[in-house]
């Protein structure tokens, strides 16, 4: 998977036609063969752009920043990224007419150890679902939607006895340092003032305790329930390497099994599962 040439051509053409102010893509980080996101404002810098299977980050996150707000933006999205873009459009966070989206029919990206990432192995929607221009083989969305399977880690952990799960997650929450990188790296955590930061509230506190980390991470994962697209930006950003995907994938599997037969962001104008209801929702857990 290498679309470097095509993306450079597209960016150069967009700048020449005056269609965009800034192009969000990937560049080499300058030290090794890993990549970092780049915001290109000068057409001469277009040659910096690359796209290979090391292009791991979700660039939709950069639509929250001042560099792109109220500007015309060109953007590269993979399958999962395009789903988060779809949700941001549905939730009126960005305007579609300000965007030029280069969609990728993604074949999966690799981590720093050159292993294919777990979410790419389990990927359900690999083609971009929202785009102006689509690169790569594929292009028919119905062909790219694969059957949904419960995440292997979630299934393995759910099969364990309660005491083991308790001990496991206590260690996870103990290791959290409350840097909030997971929140900042998430494209769908766009609130200007996060409820976790409200200093006057006694409900949340910034203290770096296991209890506070438990509260913050649980609240965060429940705010993303039915919206998380499994791009794993949070896990890549986490300095403690917490298995944050466990919380999201657990919520996702419950929602998929009980409420809806599609994942978040696949259908345009479809809001998260918590914004809807059905009379047939399960009721057997309520007395």
């Amino acid at each position: 998977m290498n679309y470097t040439k095509q993306i450079q051509d597209i960016a150069a053409k967009l700048f020449a036609e005056g269609k965009i102010d800034v192009f969000v893509g990937y560049r080499m980080n300058g030290f090794d063969d890993n990549q970092v996101p780049v915001l290109i404002k000068d057409p001469q810098d277009v040659s910096k752009l690359v796209f290979t299977d090391k292009s791991v980050f979700n660039l939709v996150n950069y639509l929250k920043t001042d560099h792109t707000r109220r500007k015309r933006v060109g953007l590269v999205v993979k399958g999962c990224d395009s789903r988060s873009l779809n949700l941001m459009l549905t939730e009126s966070q960005v305007k579609r007419e300000n965007l030029y989206v280069v969609g990728i029919c993604c074949e999966g990206v690799v981590d720093e150890a050159a292993q294919k990432m777990q979410n790419c192995v389990e990927c359900v929607v690999s083609d971009a679902v929202v785009y102006d221009e689509l690169l790569g083989a594929g292009g028919t969305l119905s062909g790219s939607i694969k059957p949904y399977k419960v995440n292997a880690d979630v299934a393995a952990l759910a099969a364990k006895p309660l005491t083991e799960r308790t001990a496991y997650f206590e260690e996870v929450f103990e290791n959290c340092i409350r840097c909030n990188a997971c929140r900042h790296s998430c494209p769908l955590c766009y609130c200007a003032k996060c409820c976790i930061d409200q200093e006057t509230s006694t409900l949340y506190n910034g203290a770096n305790t296991t209890s506070a980390a438990f509260h913050a991470l649980m609240t965060w994962s429940l705010h993303l329930a039915g919206r998380c697209v499994d791009c794993r930006n949070c896990e890549k950003a986490c300095p403690s390497h917490l298995p944050l995907h466990l919380l999201h994938k657990q919520n996702e599997s419950v929602i998929y099994e009980n409420f809806q037969e599609h994942l978040a962001g696949v259908i345009p104008e479809d809001r998260g599962a918590f914004y809807k209801y059905s009379l047939k929702d399960p009721d057997d857990f309520i007395m």
Partner: protein, 162 residues
Amino acid sequence: METEVKDQLVSIEKPELVAVPNWEPVIMGILCNWCSYAGSDLTGTSRIQYPPNIRIIRVPCSSRVDPWFLIKSLQTTADGVLVSGCHPGDCHYITGNYYARRRFLVTKKLLNFVGFHENRIQFSWVSAAEGPKFAQVVAKVTEDIKKLGPLHLYKKENFEKK
């Protein structure tokens, strides 16, 4: 109803921790104003006995219950939570409890996944006319939670090392 709790009651999530002698569970009851709170009022005015372990908070609707109400309750004092609202179709705000029902299922499964016993988070539909049912629900929840022992997770009081 049994009121005596035997000594050395073990916490189900962490068997190495035991309850203090004569431990009684604290249950957070979050009740909707229009049905369950009126139902609990009827229980009282009908002079029906129910366990005093429940601490009741009134909310406008069961969909007012943000999942972090449950998280925060379990994290501070409560050993269990009971959320109660109107029966489906009876909501004062027409659809509130349908939205709440979805959130409750996901919250319950997530809390169970991270290591809380599923009986610590309970839900019920109680209408304003169901005074006896409210007493039964509270009795059952209290009994369930007494079996589970005290909740130790993410709080460090009420415990003695074995």
